[in-house]
Symmetry: D2
Subunit: 340 residues, 4 copies
């Protein structure tokens, strides 16, 4: 088997505008179990969009963009359906930026021979393949961008903003990019564990080769900046796709405002799409009710949906897109907070 035989069928991103999920969600609303939970989550999201005092934070974890969900997020950005993004590095760098450089993800098999893949330099994510040589280009592009930035601490948001500027300057080689859309629309993007991805490779390379005079990524600054956003806005709603650090980080910001001596409300709305389980005490599966005990999430509008994101997230956003509450919603322009 040659490498190009295995990298033949690219993943295509689903377009939530090409189908109308409203009748499905309306049907689900009168059923039980996760269908009803998804309908409740959709209702809460529509509530967030209609509440003009509320800024919307989207948290992303899991291999979402390699799985074809990138355009769901770019549609949200472009239509003022989200104001802040908090993500894992894999989604933003290895997947979004990677595709923006002209590379693709490919349909593969979950039952592949991984030793054979390794010899071909093909990386596997469950049933998806990536050309490792192309990933190396992505890593090195990060290093190049780092080389152009001042040698001081940066937040991940700041660095990702620079990645957006790079794409704007060099030209997108993909149909769309969340980094680029967010750059244009003023949506700040945070990656609290920024080294834990392709960016880490590029930045280690940068620091290694610039022993003196390299930039650093200050994760405290990320937290501080997200806290500043929480302080600057009236209410917040959170849409969590998967759990992990983005979920925890975003919930913690409520406590952070308290620690700084400011009185800010809990997240007023919260929904999570996840397959994780609460019974091992892990954070990813911890319920939003549990988060309430920590003073992070209000219980009035919260819903967990137990299901894999490729099945649930497109329906959620298609429903909100077609209901159209976003049409009356102003852009958040929260990136402006950091442009001084």
């Amino acid at each position: 088997m040659e490498k190009q035989d295995l990298l033949r069928k690219p993943i295509e991103h689903i377009d939530i505008k090409t189908f109308d999920a409203r009748p499905i969600i309306e049907g689900y609303a009168l059923m039980a179990f996760q269908a009803r939970n998804l309908a409740t989550a959709a209702e809460i999201y529509n509530g967030m969009l209609a509440d003009h005092d509320c800024k919307i934070i989207l948290t992303l974890a899991g291999s979402l963009f390699s799985a074809g969900l990138k355009h769901v997020v770019t549609d949200m950005i472009n239509r003022n359906m989200v104001d802040v993004i908090v993500s894992t590095g894999a989604i933003i760098v290895d997947q979004d930026f990677f595709e923006a450089l002209g590379f693709r993800h490919y349909m593969g098999s979950a039952f592949a021979d991984d030793t054979a893949l390794r010899e071909l330099a093909i990386d596997r994510i469950y049933d998806t393949y990536i050309d490792e040589d192309e990933l190396r280009v992505c890593d090195m592009t990060i290093a190049q961008i780092a080389d152009t930035l001042p040698p001081r601490p940066h937040s991940s948001r700041e660095f990702i903003h620079a990645m957006g500027a790079y794409l704007d300057r060099e030209g997108l080689k993909a149909e769309r990019s969340a980094i680029h859309s967010a750059y244009k629309k003023g949506v700040p993007v945070f990656v609290p564990a920024f080294s834990d991805c392709s960016a880490g490779f590029g930045l280690v390379y940068h620091q290694w080769h610039k022993k003196d005079g390299h930039l650093t990524i200050d994760s405290v600054r990320d937290f501080r900046e997200l806290t500043e956003i929480k302080l600057a806005v009236k209410d917040t709603g959170v849409i969590m796709v998967g759990g992990g650090v983005p979920k925890n980080f975003t919930q913690d910001v409520v406590v952070a405002t308290d620690i700084l001596g400011e009185e800010k409300p809990m997240h007023k709305y919260a929904i999570q799409l996840t397959v994780a389980d609460e019974r091992d005490g892990g954070l990813s599966g911890s319920t939003l009710k549990e988060a309430c005990s920590w003073g992070k999430v209000d219980l009035k509008y919260e819903q967990m949906v137990f299901g894999e994101a490729t099945l649930t997230f497109p329906l959620l956003v298609s429903d909100a897109y077609h209901r159209g509450a976003w049409k009356k919603r102003a852009p958040g322009n929260l990136s402006n907070l950091f442009m001084k």
Copy 2:
């Protein structure tokens, strides 16, 4: 809280004809993870429907009808999209027959106080409520039907056929019933563990009060009858919603033909929608690949979809409904095999 306050919002069954899942499934087909698996499953189902040598067996487990999936199944029956049903007793008796008698399931909360519910005689299935007094009526109706039948061994199929006749005679008190539709369309319905539900209560009552001269339910006969169907048809495809006894029973029938000295092919097509996991060795989550080692399922057209049925089953059937391969498909009339 009064009982009627908790039993106010009835579950409504989703109608897969009111939305067109085709563009969603087409989008899913080019993605990854469970979305792509669902699209592959849909493709296999459409293949089954177009293969006129293939009879389709639907297995059902989990609280599917109380959750609003009843009309998905009646639509399949009425449009020649399924030829045999193998189910748990709860779905067929406690839920389908129960609603056919005019009762409903109600939206409730997964976080209810179960002691309080018990005092009100409200039974809970996750987030759904049932009036226990109404369930008792269902049990007793089973006992009445049993009283009218000859005191000899019956298969569950035979008894369920009598339930269909009862509904036909007495009049349906619900919009639709899978038992009744199957009765009219000649679709045999098997419940291999027939005592393990409301039917068990009614039949124990029947046997208890008719110490001599009661009927019995011969589960061997169920297995024999399903084997006779396998012997009578050319090819078979299986759609499994959940796992449990219906899954195992239906897969085993291939081995049974072998034991009777007949040469019949494995199930040619097989799809399963499930949340169960293979890693504990349990049958419900065992993969269709594993079933192949047993000589039960062919590996050419098989797909597991990991997701909760309320989210996946309506999309699967809506897609097949709108593609319309069923329009050229003749009724299976497999009940006729047992009408001599």
Copy 3:
């Protein structure tokens, strides 16, 4: 690869007497999550054993005996640590009776090539292999036993009792057998879906070749007999390993007594070891709190433990074995109820 190369390392059953789980359970009791849940379950089991008004029902589902848990159950039977067993057919027939005939289960791989296994007539259960030719001998032995029994309806309990008598007469070809131990100790064993296993193959063969004059398996009678046990004893405790039909059937028996007009208490104690999840509304993962709403399980002494049975069941029983409450416990001899 030859067949004998793959069937080389037999599964050995763990002996809970060879290690003392008490200090582990004592440690777990002061922790959190599933360790603490297991310790609570152990405490409840010890409570059942010390409560001499309580008869103990053990329900079994999942491939437990092929996985090496058979001797855990035979130790429970032989030491008066269980009074009734309700199981899937696979465990009792394909696994216990199969081994009693001198056959073994073998260590295999969960990543095997199932097509290759099928060609060698090796059946796979996750990471375990079975010689299909030996399974056929098991099926046919069931047919032979059926041929010797009177041509009338039998409960599964009655048939399994005859299997015990067969083993007693012919001689055990394994170190131990749950069927045989139960036969000797008067512990009734129910398999509510008795056709759904190797027994089904043998019994279909029996019925097929004895068109007139064959026995039948009346699953209603199983339910009636288990109800008679519930009526005959003061209190009951239930230990559920896995879910499925055995769990549901055993919980339903409380309702059955009510339907027969008798006033009997709910199951006083209930523990379940499972990996199933409640969030799809399925019965296997439904919580014992939910069962309380149905009037089946008391909430005072109930505990779910989320973990795979090979990891949790040996610790639970080893703890109870070494604490020794069973030493003062009389045999239940509940089989006597049906010996008239």
Copy 4:
């Protein structure tokens, strides 16, 4: 209910020296499913300990220390059974450092009323309670430590080393602390998402109040330092408890060495204890076979164990402790790499 009534029964850490898991693991080794997987994992861990060219990296995610697993890790550190730790911040700061300051975690209920808990300032982790006021003390102690450090970028390792020095100076107020043990034994501890925990609160406070002249946490430096360790040693083995960023970060380090132009082998040994699932494509549940396609993990000695860590981790380490391969193993002293 008063606050002190809910915070009465502290979690106690299990001591793996007080019981001998060897006979259990030996029994598990001849069984199937997760018991056998755990025995295989134990065999691999014993192999790592006996391989004196191999340094052992332990990754920790999930609420492990609040659940009573802290002493398992301190025993590993003190007996040269681990050379590097990569963890979430919650475990190291909110749980280990928190207890080192004299605070405790308490047994609670997973079914608590979270609104009531919030009013009492009690935070819940599944079935465990924490006094939020005590957590605030922990946050502020972090801020104090930060105030004493030079205003420049630090790796999390460096900061955690300073926390160890603080505890050494001020005196431990708990029986043991992983931070302190690691400090004394020269075991570097990395927290790649250091702001995502109590440390984040303290450090945001520090930066907020020292607008100029505050320290930063450079997550790139963490990655660089872990890469330096990989470069400095011959072989590596990884024990992963849970998944998340610590798992990904540690696996990525192999790729990082490659990017720096150095030829280093993949992780030679790898085991993971997890409840996560691979079927959603998430990293936490991704198999070690998948990691091989990325060139991160060798396939010769790898094992996933599907089970909750409180049930599996104590058995794994107790087995290795009693087998005693650690007695011939020298301390790694890898902290020395960074002491210049």
